[in-house]
């Protein structure tokens, strides 16, 4: 999928929120949804199970309007976190311009985080994409939980962020770090404009 169409003067960014189940990917999208003026956002499509778990995926289109003469659109997706929905995850990843990895900061979830990150790498590889070439930022969600339950950003960086990617502590429920994360991934994605199109 082409990120930027110079003929039609359009920029379209597909950003996928990835991470283990219950790490807060949909919460991120909900917060963004709440901040976008009604005229600028499409309907948020959320296919959830009865217990509010993402069954298929969430999709939030945002229209940023004209930027430097380009009609700019962001498409935010989440993947279902549960392990057994891998086919869906792979499908959603297809054509992604950037990935936000939402990690669960709870100490007991560390293995799930690592596993999910490895799963991301594998799924990208299935699409022929090297994770090192994909714009990626990490978000350490649930930092508002009691200190004794969570790992600090530094700990999580040690455990997950061995490539020194941008990482953000966040409290997606209250919006802390949500836009910082989105801004960071957008910058990375848009920087590729100068290099032409995405892989």
């Amino acid at each position: 999928m082409s990120l930027v169409n110079f003929t039609a003067r359009e920029i379209t960014c597909k950003i996928v929120y990835y991470g283990p189940g219950r790490s807060g990917k949909t919460t991120n999208l909900h917060y963004v949804y709440g901040r976008v003026p009604e005229s600028r956002r499409g309907r948020m499509v959320s296919l959830a199970t009865q217990t509010d778990r993402t069954l298929f995926f969430d999709f939030l289109p945002i229209d940023l309007g004209q930027i430097s003469g380009f009609t700019t659109r962001f498409q935010l997706y989440t993947v279902p976190g549960q392990v057994y929905y891998n086919a869906t995850r792979r499908l959603v990843l297809q054509g992604a311009d950037g990935v936000v990895f939402v990690a669960d900061s709870q100490a007991r979830q560390l293995d799930e985080n690592i596993e999910s990150l490895q799963n991301l790498q594998a799924n990208l590889l299935d699409h022929g994409v090297d994770i090192r070439g994909m714009p990626l930022v990490l978000q350490y969600n649930k930092q508002d939980l009691p200190r004794e339950l969570i790992l600090t950003s530094a700990d999580l960086d040690d455990a997950l962020n061995f490539r020194s990617l941008p990482s953000f502590p966040a409290d997606a429920l209250h919006g802390v770090g949500v836009f910082e994360t989105l801004k960071s991934i957008s910058e990375q994605v848009l920087k590729r404009l100068s290099q032409g199109t995405t892989a």
């Binding site: 110079f6 430097s68 100068s194």
Partner: protein, 644 residues
């Protein structure tokens, strides 16, 4: 009623950044090509981002470029007010006329059209009229046309039909630039870091930014101490704002959009946008921009700026060429070759051609081939002179002057020589009537392009002028011809002229020209002899698709005519008679037509009448009116003719 343009709002005082560069480029293009580039130009942006400034800048610049332009700037509210006042005063038509004669119409804040159906209709009509007459319209709004509530669909499509551009919130660097410039304008100096602090703060538009700057200027003036960055933060209440943003302010999305704008600005604007801008600008001026478009197709072209610079250089060169060419030959200037930087060598060549004498000088007419010139004893001398000239152009008889009465075929022979000479390799034959030669010279003097005119004829390898006696009294032409004459003689290039009399009898022509005219060979053409007459008659009949039986040709050749032209008239007459009677042309028919049933009258008419082609019919009326004024022998007959 109309707001005066604020002289402070010019392009020069407008700080251009990534967020508004497109709009400024479009605005400049519109000023340079009003009514043709983008019409209408629709600029939208949030409040306080410079719409009004840009609109007034267009007005000021347009006034500078074309002082005669009728430029109206007004806000939509003023327009509505003016309309209502006009309607109340019963002056609706005058109101419409006033706006229909505007060259550049600038309307601010058109978002207030919402819910004003009658104004929308009025504006739609005005837009149509102005567009139809090629007058420029520029509109500003705080949102795109499609988002103006309750706006007529037709207006939306009209507004969107030209160019719709937006201006975003300026990025940090632009904000700093704006602050620096405004501080400088106000004569205020700040410690380093102060303006950067202000620029880094969260002001949603330039107007608020200006407000902050004003507060700092006022604070500094009151306290008489230079303010530092920390103090500036406190004065502006930024410290507390920064603390509050942590929890997520309501305008996170706006901030996000602004950040993305900066990023896109850095990434796209970095080079693609500069290219896109150049395309926009030069396309607007009518230049082909394939070269720049090709840059956009590539992933990471090297030396983008050099490419743009070289493109601009080429365009400047084209402009210079076109200006130069326009001065020499206005018609040649319109060529598309001067609008295509892809074909610089061709453009240079075209310009060089124009410079050197452009389109070649007038060529001989192909209607007079030498093969159709009937030769005989009467023009034997001229024919042998022509043969000598054609064998050795410029060497043997130079100049050749063909002398003879009107209608003997001088023009034919002159053009025939020209045609023969033109067949040589590299030959450029100038062959025209002296009258045209004089007219061209006058036009060249008028257009201040004498050099071009001279160059044009100096390139010619042969110069043939018909009716050279018409030079009489044309002193400047004689002067120019004298120079050409010498040049042609020196370089052994052929000169051929025609005149009704030998040069000795010329009146009003300088002796130095007259003597030169006679210095080559003066060949006289006399009344056509029988052979010539027969030949001419045969040629004419063939041309008119008539039978050429010997009896007919002999009969026609025996007619006592004194010029080829008279014979031509005669032949046309008998052919016309045959066609009218629907009979094949024969000697008998010709005799009947020419001698008719009044052979007595025929004899009387022999000398004066035969060239005129006039014949008195049996009914006594005049059947042909050709040449009647000049050749009419009897004044009483002339009165009869005029009263008809």
């Amino acid at each position: 009623m109309t707001t005066a343009l604020n002289p402070k709002f010019t392009f020069d005082s407008f700080v251009v950044g990534a967020a508004n560069r497109l709009a400024v480029t479009a605005a400049r293009t519109v000023v340079e090509n009003p009514g043709s580039a983008y019409n209408p130009l629709f600029i939208y942006s949030g409040s306080g981002l410079g719409k009004t400034h840009l609109l007034m800048a267009i007005g000021s610049q347009a006034k500078k470029v074309a002082p005669g332009f009728n430029i109206e700037y007004l806000t939509l509210d003023e327009y509505v007010e003016a309309f209502h006042a006009a309607i109340a005063a019963g002056q609706g038509d005058a109101f419409r006329r006033r706006f229909q004669n505007v060259d550049v119409l600038l309307v601010d804040d058109v978002q207030f059209l919402t819910g004003r159906a009658e104004m929308q209709t009025e504006l739609l009509r005005l837009t149509e009229v102005l567009q139809g007459t090629g007058h420029q319209i520029v509109l500003t709004c705080d949102r795109p046309p499609g988002e103006i509530a309750a706006l007529d669909e037709r207006l939306i499509s009209r507004f969107s039909g030209g160019l719709v551009v937006d201006m975003g919130v300026p990025d940090y660097e632009t904000r700093v630039a704006i602050l620096r410039r405004k501080a400088e304008e106000r004569g205020a100096a700040f410690q380093p870091g102060v303006l950067e602090t202000v620029a880094g703060a969260d002001f949603v538009n330039v107007r608020e930014l200006m407000g902050a700057l004003n507060r700092l200027i006022a604070y500094q003036a009151v306290n008489e101490t230079p303010i530092n960055a920390e103090a500036a933060k406190q004065v502006l209440g930024l410290a507390s704002v920064a603390a509050a943003t942590g929890g997520g302010s309501a305008d996170e999305f706006a901030q996000f959009v602004s950040d993305v704008t900066v990023t896109v600005g850095k990434a796209v604007e970095a080079w693609r946008s500069r290219v896109a801008e150049a395309i926009l600008r030069w396309e607007g001026e009518g230049y082909r921009t394939h070269r720049l478009e090709a840059l956009l197709e590539r992933d990471a072209p090297a030396a983008v700026d050099e490419a743009i610079t070289s493109f601009v250089k080429d365009v400047e060169r084209l402009k210079a060429l076109e200006t130069e060419v326009a001065a020499l030959d206005p018609q040649a200037a319109g060529q598309s070759i001067f609008r295509d930087p892809e074909h610089m060598p061709e453009a240079e060549e075209a310009a060089a051609r124009v410079r050197e004498g452009a389109g070649p000088p007038p060529a001989p007419s192909p209607a007079f081939p030498l093969a159709q010139f009937a030769a005989g004893a009467s023009n034997q001398m001229a024919m042998s002179a022509v043969a000598a000239v054609l064998a050795q152009p410029g060497k043997k008889y130079n100049p050749l002057l063909l002398v003879g009465r009107s209608g003997l075929g001088k023009t034919h022979l002159l053009n025939a020589v020209g045609l023969e000479l033109a067949q040589r390799r590299g030959a450029i034959v100038a062959c025209l009537s002296t009258q045209d030669f004089v007219d061209e010279l006058i036009a060249a003097i008028d257009g201040n392009r004498m050099d071009w005119w001279r160059a044009r004829y100096r390139r010619a390898t042969a110069l043939l002028l018909d009716d050279i006696h018409l030079l009489a009294g044309k002193e400047r032409t004689q002067e120019e011809l004298f120079n050409l004459f010498n040049l042609f003689l020196d370089q052994e290039r052929q000169l051929v002229f025609t005149a009704p009399t030998p040069p000795g009898a010329f009146q009003g022509i300088e002796p130095r020209i007259a003597s030169r005219l006679g210095s080559g060979l003066v060949a006289e053409l006399t009344e056509p002899d029988r052979d010539v007459r027969r030949g001419v008659a045969e040629r004419l009949l063939v041309q008119l698709h008539q039978p050429t039986e010997a009896a007919l040709l002999d009969y026609l050749a025996d007619r006592p005519v004194d010029s080829v032209r008279a014979l031509t008239t005669l032949v046309q007459r008998v052919v016309g008679a045959a066609t009218a009677k629907e009979q094949p042309l024969s000697a008998g028919l010709a005799r009947e037509e020419l001698e008719g049933q009044a052979p007595v009258g025929e004899r009387r008419r022999t000398s004066g009448f035969r060239t005129s082609g006039i014949v008195v019919s049996s009914a006594g009326g005049v059947r042909s009116r050709e040449k009647m004024v000049w050749d009419w022998p009897e004044p009483s007959d002339r009165v009869l003719e005029e009263s008809r």
